[in-house]
Assembly symmetry: C2
Homo-oligomer: 336 residues x 2
DNA sequence: ATAATGTGAGCAAACGGTTGCGCAGTTTAA
DNA sequence: TTAAACTGCGCAACCGTTTGCTCACATTAT
């Protein structure tokens, strides 16, 4: 139904090739013809068919973004949308569209990846919330398909990735607690399946060790990135008779849950127990008490990821790049 | 590079047509041939090229989602991601992928719409955060392209839409204030360009009138959907010497800002002034005081939108459907 | 005047599928 | 026994663009 390049060609009394070349700004088309054709395109409301173009070009202007986490939950964590808009911002400037898909198992992820990569529908992929051992990444690398993962994967040297220096995030947070006189700092992690958790834990341990404070395993617990378990994890810790003077949560939502639990039990935050989170969600400052957190700069994470992807897509030889996005400790009342 | 239908055909000693029909489960292919071909497809790791398929079919398995609001900000409001995941959830089940794009002006929206619709890249569109007068919608309807808008547009009878009953949302909220003895209830709206605001305002007025309370224009102010202006709007109201005993904000983020302002000025919430918002963002319950809000069921909004879209796409004749998603008042301490 | 070069545009194949039509070979009905 | 119907598959056109090659004509160099 819509007008095609052939319709324009007929109307202009030229061949389809000429119209195509006109659109592509090919210098071998005379100025007269060019103008005549452009005029007709406006008049007839011509819009190029992206599908046909992609088929001929064997490439599209679409990148795929794959979010790990159930379709119902994944987007709702403030962290993802922010990354997403970082990606979208870059994509918009370069004329790329983004195709998103959220999966909730490694298997679904693999399926989505092969659909995106092998069906020719995207010409690059961003993997969000990478698992420690990412089989999709292996597959993509093997088929030489451009992609970048957000979050350092275990096999980091073989893939493009962008991430914060999460060891440092853990380290900085811990040091902040120590500098404020805390000595028994608990660590509430998310699922250890994800690299962020283990990296931050590493930083936590490092900071303790540097300050000659023994790492006590009973102060370290793991959960998932949902708020309720922040409450649950904290409760478990308290029920076991453990009384830290500080709590580092791997996510603000975990911290919120933890604080609620502490307050219910009659502890004062930060007087009795200091609590900090990570991700600096917008409502940290409205919380009571305002929550100390780490701004991981999710937007930049997304933007950088897109940059890397484009570089990888357009460069002749697949190179291995990576970017470390700086994170920033934001001290609020929950820890001082 | 990747293996095509022709490669399979050669390997199986049949014609490409036969392979194609095998994939399409055409009954005129014998069981033997079918099995042989499927086996080869697995072995050779064949994946259909979606682009080619789309070109031949003149249709894709992709729907476009257009978000109004800047690429940097739009996704960050908790409301959008939730709608998005509602859409994604439906899409996933039906094998559709979603292409998202965020725009920050009516003009960009129009551009995105025509790109999506005319380039053949999507076969349906969801418009989020519809303006009162939506020119994109007019254009889409005119070209008979399947789409649905989330949020009732002004020209509602001509388009498919899904929304809450926002008049009722405003009405319920206001009645809640009145039932708690409030008599001077201010209304903090978002930009009147969007239908939600005017609808809720209508409900607000209706409830007042029903209770024989005069509508006072000086109690009604408009802003945008960003938290800072919640503070700003409230401050403006107070600076003008207005002292309401209740504040209805059209969005939780507005309410947060308003409350912060009130507290700074020494007012107690809810004792002096009750405040409620809309959207029931996850952190309402952590706020101090926990915020009364309305759960607009954004996920269902998205899911319903997808349903309507699919119906519209697959049905022979374009019909005009719409869906009202129930909203639910959630009373918390900020108003009682 | 002739050859070499440049200019502007068309032909046709290709991208990877889908599908209407036709055609053998086999089965069923008359 | 012959016609009709069915079965299983191939041929070729088509979807809308892109692009290598060719070609006619005009320009410049020899």
């Amino acid at each position: 139904m819509p007008v095609t390049i052939n319709d324009i060609a007929k109307a202009a009394n030229v061949s389809p090739s000429t119209v195509s070349r006109t659109i592509a700004n090919n210098p071998r088309i005379s100025e007269k013809t060019r103008e005549r054709i452009f005029k007709l395109m406006k008049e007839m409301n011509y819009h190029p068919n992206m599908i046909a173009r992609s088929l001929a070009n064997k490439s599209t202007k679409i990148i795929g973004v794959i979010v790990t986490g159930s379709a119902e939950k994944a987007f709702q964590h403030p962290f993802f949308p922010e990354i997403l808009s970082g990606i979208a911002s870059g994509a918009y400037k370069s004329g790329y569209k983004i195709l998103i898909s959220s999966v909730n198992s490694a298997q679904e992820e693999k399926k989505a990846v092969s659909e995106y990569a092998m069906s020719g529908i995207t010409s690059g992929i961003v993997l969000l919330a990478s698992r420690v051992r990412n089989t999709s990444a292996d597959e993509l690398r093997q088929m030489d398909f451009p992609f970048v993962v957000v979050g350092r994967p275990e096999n980091e040297c073989d893939v493009n990735w962008v991430d914060n220096d999460n060891v440092r995030v853990g380290h900085d947070l811990t040091r902040h607690f120590l500098e404020n006189g805390r000595r028994e700092v608990a660590f509430l992690g998310a699922s250890p399946e994800f690299t962020v958790t283990s990296d931050r834990l590493e930083g936590y341990k490092k900071a303790l060790t540097e300050n000659d404070i023994p790492v006590r395993d009973e102060l370290i617990v793991n959960g998932k990135f949902v708020d309720d378990t922040g409450y649950g994890l904290m409760k478990e810790l308290l029920d076991r008779g453990i009384r830290p003077d500080g709590v580092i949560a791997c996510d603000d939502l975990l911290a919120f849950g933890a604080i609620r639990c502490l307050q219910e039990k009659g502890f004062r935050v930060p007087e009795d127990i200091a609590v900090a989170g990570v991700n600096n969600v917008p409502l940290d400052e409205y919380f009571d008490p305002p929550l100390t957190s780490v701004d991981v700069n999710a937007f930049s994470l997304g933007a950088k990821a897109f940059d890397l992807l484009i570089t990888n897509m357009t460069s002749e030889h697949r190179s291995i790049d990576r970017a470390i996005v700086p994170a920033r400790l934001i001290v609020r009342k929950s820890t001082v």
